[in-house]
Amino acid sequence: MHSSTAYFLDSIDIIDYIDRCKRLLRANTGDVKMFDYIWQHLFTPFLRFWFKWFLRHFTGKCELQRICGGYRPGAARTLRAEYSLESSKNKVLRAAVSAEEDKVEECAMAIMKEKKVSSQKDPAFKTSLQVCLMQISGYKILYGSVEELRKQPFDCENNSHETMLLRLWDLLMPSTKLESRITKQWGDIGFQGDDPKTDFRGMGMLGLTNLIFFSEKYTDVARQVLSHSGHPKLGYSYAIVGINLTEMVFSLLRSGALKPHFYNTAFQSPKMEHFHQLYCYFAYEFDKFWVEEKPESIMEFNRYREKFHEKMKGLLQQPDVSLCLTVDSKP
């Protein structure tokens, strides 16, 4: 008895549609601010309420049930559930988006109780809702841990930080020995001066962790990218461009732009590993992009960085986006 609600327009899709009409109307109205204000405070909640009321009685299911039953797992389903929960008037539903991982089941039960969903009539609902909740709250928790790592500055006094830095060298330059801790050699893997510690800046340990993860998991790819960065004309500074890309992925995470990707690729809650994996994708794809675009010199970096950023943002807006590093088979 698979739900047939997928064939109905759901209230969210209707709001989507109205939003499009609204934009048209808005373009033809003089006072845009006033229009937005009236729309936001009067029309949207009002219309949404009545559509939901109508569909609830027509289908006999609440909005969350229609979403969970009507969409395949992934961004399409989780994004709709998130929107539905966040705009709910019910406290239990609103609080569910930031539930801890071990509280998710409890939360799902509470929501079913609030919405009077019986698990006999809709047996798949609880599992689907739980996956949605895991993904939604997991994203928020992931942002918290990424931010924590970012705020941790690279510290020369900290042995584990120093070990990581030296390990980065060994991974990238297996046949060259580092002559000393402070040396011009760091320039060979793209740090600016003779001590990398000042290059992590606003990305802190997140930058170093990303660089290490890439070199560890995809050692050959990382070395290949590094070899491109040594090109006399197209060359760029491998490490600091990497730190720059960490900033790009981080800011996309912060703005919420990575939600579709993580909801599609993380089976349950997205974890730090997923973030690092995405960094690898960015590092590899940026290098490919840079080489293909043939910029005039390294001074053009920010222009191409922006172009690449736009390209990624475009990809991330596609509902079935899944940015995974696939390595070309050629050596």
């Binding site: 320039g187 600016q192 001066g193 000042t198 290059d199 800046r201 606003g202 990305m203 930058g207 760029y236 500074s237 600091i240 461009v241 730190i243 720059n244 960490t246 900033e247 981080f250 800011s251 010199s297 390294i298 001074m299 053009e300 970096f301 920010n302 222009r303 960085r305």
Partner: protein, 182 residues
């Protein structure tokens, strides 16, 4: 002449544009300074590969500030940005004593550049929020600034992190541009 045409005239006199070059060694704080000038968030800064540019309105001027990366590898590109520069801002990390010689040498080379001849220079003795920072007077002496005779110059201690001293420096910039244009 009606009120409307007066208004129109006021509106059509655009701000005078000033081209400012922001140079200095890597990790000196140029990008942080640039972001402070533009009132942007400074907590996620990364090393500058290439350059950044921002326009800032200040005291009737439109300041076009070019922040060029300071890494040794890209210093040879600095000269591509010298043309038509109205003001040079040179940023020094006052706590990085080990590189005072290097930064002094780079500054001396810039002041010898033909394309920058006569261009006023403001030196920011940055990172004064750090306990180990050298005072501006010590840096001025070390760089022999008093021997500069061919242009207006000024040294200003500041902290791009806290914003302290930046306004004073920028006031000097606007005054000097005015003096030079008159």
């Amino acid at each position: 002449m009606g009120l409307l045409s007066i208004l129109r005239k006021l509106k059509s006199s655009p701000d005078q544009e000033v081209r400012i070059l922001l140079l200095g060694l890597d990790n000196g704080g140029k990008t942080t300074l640039l972001k402070q000038l533009a009132s942007e968030d400074i907590s996620h800064i990364t090393p500058t590969q290439g350059f950044n540019i921002k326009s800032v309105q200040s005291q009737g001027f439109k300041l076009n500030v070019w922040d060029i990366g300071g890494q040794r590898k890209i210093r040879p590109y600095w000269r591509n940005y010298f043309e038509n520069t109205d003001m040079l801002i040179y940023v020094i990390d006052s706590a990085d004593r080990k590189r005072f010689d290097e930064t002094g040498q780079e500054l001396a080379e810039l002041l010898d550049e033909e394309k920058l001849s006569g261009v006023p220079v403001l030196i920011f003795a940055n990172k004064q929020d750090l306990l180990t920072a050298a005072p501006a007077s010590e840096i001025a002496e070390g760089l022999n600034l008093h021997t500069i005779r061919d242009r207006l110059w000024q040294i200003q201690s500041c902290s791009a992190l806290t914003g302290e001293g930046i306004q004073e420096g920028m006031n000097w910039v606007c005054r000097s541009v005015n003096a030079k244009k008159k």
